[in-house]
């Protein structure tokens, strides 16, 4: 438990518009138990006055579900990328330093443009084709309980982008799609109907920015708030692409 129980102090990196220079401001609110970063930011928003008494524009951030399932609230909290709704104030050292999620373009203050995550998912066809020119059903798809529970782990991804921020190979300097989209390839390829498009997904991740751009630093799996076994997915995709390359080169 932190010693300071009288107030909650924030040091926030602010930016007025995309491309404008960032600057820092500090805020303090009276202590109340059981705050999380978002609920405390809401209190700041009610009365946006900095610690040196200056009234400023309210801090902008993103959030939706408040229960760590939507992924929209990820930011850098005391230097670590994580969802802010599940970052409990009582477990953080103060002043709590908030910065926008790195590697993504800042829209304003703590709000970033994470559309690159969606682009990655589109690029790897992270969906199941349920309708086609013909009926793809073979009765209800059946998978074993153990396969189901392994797949379930990957289905929890909420596209928060924490793994991407921590990945040393991902960023504006590279076109690496990053671990989240790769894990979805692992998931969709394991689906009884999704298997039909396995080769297409594998070809998508065998091009520029695909699985080979991973450098195995394994930061992604350490920071993922949903404990998704990203590096297992990367290993399994290594195996699937090895087999796919043999098929591409030698037929079969």
């Amino acid at each position: 438990m932190p010693a300071n129980r009288t107030s909650i102090r924030f040091k926030i990196r602010r930016q007025d518009a995309p491309g404008s220079p960032p600057y820092w401001q500090e805020f303090a609110i009276p202590y109340a138990p059981d705050h999380n970063v978002i609920s405390a930011l809401m209190v700041v928003q009610n009365n946006p006055v900095t610690t040196d008494g200056q009234r400023v524009a309210p801090v902008v951030w993103d959030r939706n579900c408040m229960e760590e399932v939507c992924g929209s609230c990820a930011m850098l909290i005391n230097g670590v990328p994580r969802p802010s709704c599940s970052a409990l104030i009582d477990s953080l050292t103060q002043p709590i330093v908030l910065e926008p999620l790195p590697k993504f373009p800042v829209v304003r203050d703590l709000l970033v443009d994470r559309s690159r995550i969606d682009e990655g998912l589109r690029k790897v066809r992270a969906w199941i084709e349920i309708d086609g020119a013909w009926d793809t059903h073979e009765g209800a798809p059946r998978i074993s309980p153990s396969e189901w529970s392994a797949n379930y782990l990957y289905s929890r991804c909420m596209s928060c982008g924490c793994c991407l921020s921590a990945c040393p190979q991902f960023g504006p300097h590279s076109d690496f799609i990053g671990p989240a989209a790769l894990a979805q390839v692992r998931l969709m390829n394991a689906h009884p109907t999704g298997r039909y498009d396995q080769a297409d997904r594998l070809h998508a991740i065998m091009g520029d920015g695909g699985v080979s751009d991973c450098g195995n630093a394994q930061n992604c799996v350490r920071v993922c708030p949903k404990s998704i076994p990203l590096t297992t997915a990367i290993g399994e995709l290594g195996r699937q692409t090895t087999v796919q390359a043999v098929k591409d080169l030698f037929g079969g």
Partner: protein, 210 residues
């Protein structure tokens, strides 16, 4: 639909990965083993080990095709890969993150060391007959200088680290190790392999000393 054989990216990366082990890594193992024979003295080393290698038919072709070209490709493409690194070592202090950084840093270190090492042995030997004919004496002269011993020790450790850690990431890249447990276990196997190689290499270096 993009085909992995139409887009060279994947095959180039895998070629880079493969060449790191075969033939380059295999040569490193052979090279360290070969030089560990230094312990049996100048006569044996010059007369048996080096003479056998120097007497091989088509030696220059083998050296170029099996060692130089694969190494140059691996090193050149490795440098290209290294430009993609944006490591934040203090923010993410995980072991694997450090190993990731070290893999690239050691690659650059090896490149510098190899230029010096090949220059003062194989290349210098082309015009200095004394180097070619008494490689043992030449190495003894070099390694007797403490700073040169330090340089060789650094080069040895960087190379051995780079091979052992590269082997462990190859397990993930090629899909041998998928679960976190398997990756950890194989990591220990590679570390053991690295320590063994380092011991053989150091043994060889000490064998040259008077």
């Amino acid at each position: 639909m993009r085909h992995s054989t139409a887009d060279p990216h994947f095959l180039l990366r895998r070629l880079h990965s493969l060449l790191g082990l075969l033939p380059v890594g295999a040569f490193l193992i052979f090279h360290l083993w070969e030089n560990s024979q230094s312990r049996f003295g100048a006569a044996h080393y010059n007369g048996e080990v080096v003479a056998f290698l120097q007497g091989m038919n088509y030696l220059p072709i083998l050296e170029i095709v099996i060692i130089a070209l694969p190494l140059l490709f691996h090193a050149g493409y490795g440098l290209v890969i290294t430009t993609q690194m944006r490591a934040e070592l203090t923010r993410y202090r995980y072991v694997r993150n450090w190993l990731y950084w070290l893999q690239r840093a050691s690659g650059i270190g090896i490149l510098v060391f190899l230029l010096l090492h090949v220059g003062m042995t194989r290349i210098e030997g082309i015009w200095r007959v004394s180097v070619r004919e008494d490689l043992f004496g030449h190495m003894q002269h070099l390694l007797s200088q403490p700073w040169m011993f330090g340089l060789y020790l650094t080069g040895l450790l960087l190379s051995v680290f780079h091979l052992a850690n590269g082997l462990s990431t190859m397990g993930i890249v090629w899909g041998l190790t998928t679960s976190a447990d398997a990756q950890r276990r194989f990591g220990f196997v590679c570390a053991g392999f690295g320590l063994l190689l380092a011991a053989i290499g150091l043994h060889g270096m000490i064998g040259f000393l008077p």
